[in-house]
Symmetry: C2
Subunit: 270 residues, 2 copies
C-alpha cells in the first residue's frame, strides 16, 4: 500500500439493473473512476462508458473485496465499489465500513462516500402498485451470516405486529428449506389468502412478477434472485386491473370504516 | 370527465431533493408530462424544465389529489404525480391505487405506472455509512391514519426482535409527545447508548445529520422533516472517522467471534 494523500472510495448501487433506475450520480462516478471493484455482470448491466480498470471479484468474499478496494483508494485511486440495488441494504457499504472498524489506523487517508440506490423491494413494489405503502420490514432469509433462530424470531415478531414484510435471499441451492419454514412462521399469524408478490430479475429483460397467496408461496419456486413481499392484514389485491395497479397497502390502519380516508372528501372533476 | 382512450398516470418520487439522486426516468416523465400534480416545492427541488400545467395541491388531502390526477389522465393527459422520496413508501402511490380500489369501474382507461425513488431512510443511511446493512423496519410515528397503540405494538415487536428501526414522521406540532413515547418503548429493549442517527432535509442545502445515543433522542428536537435511524444491538459507531464512515450495522448477527467474517480471509494488497 502506498502512503500519501490517498484517494476516494465510493460505494454505489446500480439499482435493479436498468440504466434509467440508476441515480445519475452513480453513472458519473463510474465514468470518472480509476478503478471499479465488483461483479462484472453489474457493471455490464449499467453500461456506463469508462476507462477505469476493472477488478471483477466473483471469487472473493465481501471482506476481501472491501479491503482490496480500500487499498486501491489509499494508493491514490478514485475507486468505485459497485453493488446492485442499494449498497446500504444487505450489500457492500456495510462490508467496507466494517473493514474501517476492524483496522482503526489503516486507510485514514481514504475519503468514503456511499451513494444510495433503489433496492429490490422498492423496485418490485413499484411493479404492482403500492404494497409498501404502510409500515414494513426487510429481512434476509440467508442463514450464512446469522443463525436461523434469529430469522425465525424476526419473522414471528414482524408478522405478529402485522408489518408488510420484504424477504431477501429467500432460498438457495444449499438451503432449499428456508422459504418453507418462513412461510410456516408467517402463516401462524396471517390468513392463507394474504397477498404475496414474488419478483425475479426486476427491471431486467427477463423480469418476472407474480401476485400469489401466502398458501402458494412455499411452492412458488424462488431462488437467490427472487425478492418477495408478504402483505399485512390490510394489503389488498385489485381484481381485473393490470398488474401495475393490482396490489396496495392502504396508508391507514386499524381505523373504523367511517374514519378511513378512502373517499375523496371533495371529489374534484377536471 | 371526458370519455375516450385515456392517458397515463405516472407516480414518481424525486428522492430526497437532489437532482443527482432522482432517477433519470423521473426527470424524463416530468419533462414530457402534460400535467403535474403535487407540491410545487417538490417540483422546484428537481428543477426539470417542462411545459406541463402545474396543479399544486397543498390544500388537498391525498385522496382528492389522487382522484384529481386520475381524472386528468382519464381525459387523455400524460399526468405525473410528484412525491418526495419513494412514492411507494408512505406516499402517493398507495393513495392512487386506493382510489382505483374504491371506484372499480372508473378510470379503467388510465395506464398507471409507479417509478420508485430513494426514500429518506436510505438517503440518511448513506450519509453516515451503512446503518441499514442488516434486517430493518420502517415505521411512521404519525397517528393521523392509525391508532397510537398499533404504533407502540410495532415498535415493541421491532425492538424486541432487534431490528434496526427507521422512524418517519417522528413528531409534529400537534403531537409533540410521539417521539418521547416511542423512545420509552425502544428503551425497554435497547441499551441507552444504542447509536441513533437523526437527519433533516437530507440532500438539500440545509442538510443536518447527527449521530446520537438512544437516551438523547427524546430531546433531539425532531419535526416532520426529520427521519431517524435507531440501531440494533450490533450497530456500531466508529470514533474518529468522518461522519460519512461513522455508523454501520454488520452483515452478521448472533455469530460467535471466530465465525464472524470481519477479517479478510486472504487480504489482498494492491
Amino acid at each position: 500500500m502506498t502512503a500519501g494523500h490517498g484517494g476516494s472510495l465510493t460505494v454505489v448501487g446500480i439499482g435493479p439493473g436498468r440504466l434509467d433506475w440508476c441515480l445519475p450520480g452513480v453513472a458519473a462516478r463510474i465514468a470518472s473512476a480509476t478503478d471499479l471493484v465488483g461483479y462484472r455482470r453489474y457493471l455490464d448491466l449499467v453500461g456506463v462508458e469508462t476507462t477505469a480498470r476493472r477488478h471483477p471479484s466473483n471469487n472473493r468474499v465481501e471482506a476481501d473485496r472491501a479491503a482490496f478496494a480500500l487499498d486501491r483508494a489509499a494508493g491514490g485511486g478514485e475507486v468505485v465499489v459497485v453493488s446492485s440495488g442499494d449498497p446500504g441494504v444487505f450489500a457492500m457499504a456495510s462490508a467496507v465500513v466494517e473493514q474501517l472498524d476492524r483496522w482503526p489506523d489503516r486507510w485514514r487517508n481514504v475519503r468514503l462516500e456511499v451513494v444510495p440506490g433503489v433496492t429490490a423491494a422498492q423496485a418490485l413494489a413499484s411493479r404492482v402498485g403500492a404494497p409498501l405503502g404502510h409500515d414494513f420490514c426487510v429481512i434476509s432469509l440467508s442463514d450464512v451470516l446469522k443463525p436461523w433462530d434469529v430469522i425465525e424470531r424476526r419473522l414471528d415478531a414482524a408478522a405478529g405486529a402485522d408489518f408488510v414484510i420484504a424477504l431477501y435471499n429467500p432460498t438457495s441451492r444449499h438451503r432449499p428449506w428456508q422459504l418453507g419454514l418462513a412461510v410456516e412462521v408467517l402463516a401462524s399469524h396471517r390468513d392463507p389468502i394474504t397477498p404475496v408478490v414474488v419478483g425475479r430479475d426486476i427491471g431486467r429483460p427477463d423480469e418476472e412478477v407474480r401476485v400469489l397467496r401466502l398458501d402458494q408461496l412455499a411452492e412458488a419456486g424462488a431462488d437467490m434472485r427472487t425478492v418477495i413481499l408478504v402483505g399485512s392484514s390490510t394489503t389488498r389485491v385489485l381484481e381485473g386491473r393490470p398488474l401495475g395497479a393490482s396490489v396496495y397497502t392502504p396508508r391507514w390502519y386499524g381505523l373504523p370504516e367511517g374514519h378511513r380516508p378512502t373517499a375523496p372528501s371533495n371529489h374534484a372533476t377536471a
